[in-house]
Subunit: 392 residues, 2 copies
């Protein structure tokens, strides 16, 4: 199944080679998988001298897989077939300050709509992958002490979806982990053994791939780099500590530094923007000011990049990834941010760790979360089926 | 083979269960392994109702495995059988400032002695695991830009040993990686999915276990935490940057702070020690002074612990290990250092990441390096044998 997922199609003799099964055993297993609806034959391949090989592929009519990506301010729901091809997708604003029933309820509605539009029924949904913006106890599938939405702690996400989608299993993971999986599945992370996906938005977090596998850590909180200390005397963070990276360099910090620059007169552009915005500034405004050549806005963005880069420099020494992919809302800021991050990392990491290091924006775009959630669900689908004897 | 290495002995039916082989296939494979000398039968086990099961174990007469652990100032050589039991071991001072031919040559001599004492011949040596104190290109088995011994760069360690030990393969790894493997093989790290082994001595480095496997990173430099920046205005480090953890908190930094305290009169104990030492102080002296109740010495040790703990706090947020094992020369310093490390980590890491986190000294002791080198060689021995179809 692993080879099938990678290659799309495979011959019977390739299956024998990969599994080490005898011809008879392979025939029997393949027959059983076809009967169960996992595989279909798709005609004949090119002869290598003897009989033309009969090719097999995963049966994309087996059922649906859903990917759900819940961010602090938006949610994405996508429906895919079991080969991971997205059939349809929708996206809308949300607010994680709402009760979980309301946000997950809306996800269920959207998912039902998608299935209906595709001409299917809820029972055809085999699995749901869900990404949520907070620390997840992966084994139990619940949020643990999520700073953004304390009310969601321990909410039984699996049971909630199972009420509507009886045939589906539900896998829940942190939003940045699913982004890393999405980068691995659909982006430049494919085939890369060691990389870090850094999300910069309202918060800052990382998804970690070690030896080709997601590294969740012993409590599922790995990658929580937003609360690494940058300045012991820095501003108070929501977590209770001072000078956390997130409190100093993420979207809200950028906006609040810009407000300060607007107030103290160091930027006329930001002051004007603030006035026309009714007294507030968003991170996007700082970006816009920067594009207009505003020095104060540029400095704010560079400072953020430098702080993020300083933290990543430590992590590069520790983890020695070959790639760092940067994604999330703030990455629309373009090159100033990325250049500052790169400069700080190269300046502070050891040469051996940076010689082959590539730091770039993720090119998967806004699909990366749902792609990862679908990939996670597929890993689970093909691994939990005992008869396949496989960990995918 | 994996189950055999773990359990020591196993029955034929267990082998069928684990591999999924039919009885006939299992019989045939086992016969072939016995003929090749990998397995031996060791009589009958306890009946579970039917026939008494015939037990198998790895043939410990198959040959020898060597573990070599080269530190900055000492080298350890051990000879084991293929079950990983150490038969004999020796240890002596060395100096990595010497040319590599001289240090590895000495290792060869010691190894020949050990084999002779055991009544064996050099050709019975199947594999050698080697740990060296510097960054290793694991695939090529050579050191890359080692700060302590620039002359050793690219020295062909494998070829060097193969000249004397024709039948042996040679696996080379960083000294801290082999310590982490030793902790996993023989210490409290057994069965733990995610842990960090921190070595504190002349330098500071870490070995990383993720999902039960060593994480070497994309260039083999993972775990190089000694050059993480602690203070941008700190003292110059050998690597060229300022304020690296190693330059501020490792053995030499402790000794030099103590010298300063002896000179400026803030510690009478250290001043006396310095005089009786002929004008110098070693890290051990600071420890001794601390035991005598000297406040300045205690402060120096606590400061080191705090700086190391601050760095580990970031890594705990990022990596979320369940255990941190501390080893290396400085760990003889006992609880003051450990308490300071723990306090800093608990203070700066997120609650979710520290609730189940254990930070303690490695209990494997000075054997940990050679144990790990032997374990690495055994992993390799049982994985490269194609006929076993296994990655161990």
């Amino acid at each position: 199944m692993r080879a099938l997922r990678r290659q799309g199609r495979i011959s019977r003799s390739e299956i024998s080679n990969i599994t080490g099964w005898s011809k008879a055993k392979a025939s029997q297993e393949i027959r059983s998988l076809i009967e169960k609806g996992y595989l279909v034959e798709i005609g004949e391949g090119v002869s290598q001298g003897g009989r033309k090989p009969r090719l097999l592929r995963i049966n994309n009519q087996l059922g649906y897989i859903a990917g759900i990506d819940i961010g602090a301010t938006s949610l994405d729901v996508a429906l895919a077939d079991v080969t991971g091809s997205i059939l349809q997708r929708c996206s809308e604003p949300t607010d994680v300050k709402l009760p979980p029933q309301s946000v997950f309820g809306r996800c269920s509605e959207l998912l039902l709509d998608l299935i209906r539009t595709q001409g299917g029924t809820p029972d055809q949904l085999l699995g749901i992958g869900v990404g949520v913006p907070g620390p997840v106890d992966f084994a139990r599938g619940v949020l643990v002490a999520p700073p953004l939405m304390p009310e969601w702690e321990n909410f039984p996400i699996r049971d909630f979806f199972k009420k509507t989608f009886h045939s589906a299993f539900v896998v829940v993971d942190n939003d940045v982990n699913i982004m890393a999986l999405g980068e691995q599945r659909a982006g430049d992370g494919a085939g890369i053994d060691h990389f870090i996906f850094v999300k910069i938005g309202t918060g800052i977090g990382a998804g970690i791939i070690s030896n080709g596998r997601i590294h969740r850590g012993s409590d599922g909180s790995a990658g929580d780099i937003g609360h690494i200390c940058v300045d012991k005397e820095g501003p108070l963070c929501a977590c209770g500590n001072k000078g956390c990276l997130e409190a100093m360099a993420a979207g809200p910090a950028i906006a609040s530094k810009a407000l300060e620059a607007a107030r103290n007169g160091s930027s006329a552009t930001l002051r004007e923007m603030r006035e026309s915005n009714g007294g507030t500034l968003r991170p996007e405004d700082v970006n816009a000011a920067c594009r207009e050549g505003d020095q104060a806005a540029l400095d704010i963005i560079r400072d953020s990049g430098q702080m993020i880069g300083d933290v990543l420099a430590s992590l590069v020494n520790f983890f020695n990834p070959s790639h760092i992919f940067v994604g999330g809302g703030i990455t629309n800021f373009g090159n100033h941010l990325l250049v500052a991050i790169r400069r700080a990392v190269l300046h502070r990491s050891l040469p051996l760790a940076t010689t082959h290091l590539s730091i770039k924006f993720s090119r998967v775009g806004s699909n990366v979360g749902v792609m990862g959630a679908i990939s996670l669900a597929l890993d689970y689908l093909f691994a939990i089926e005992d008869n396949l004897h496989l960990m995918v």
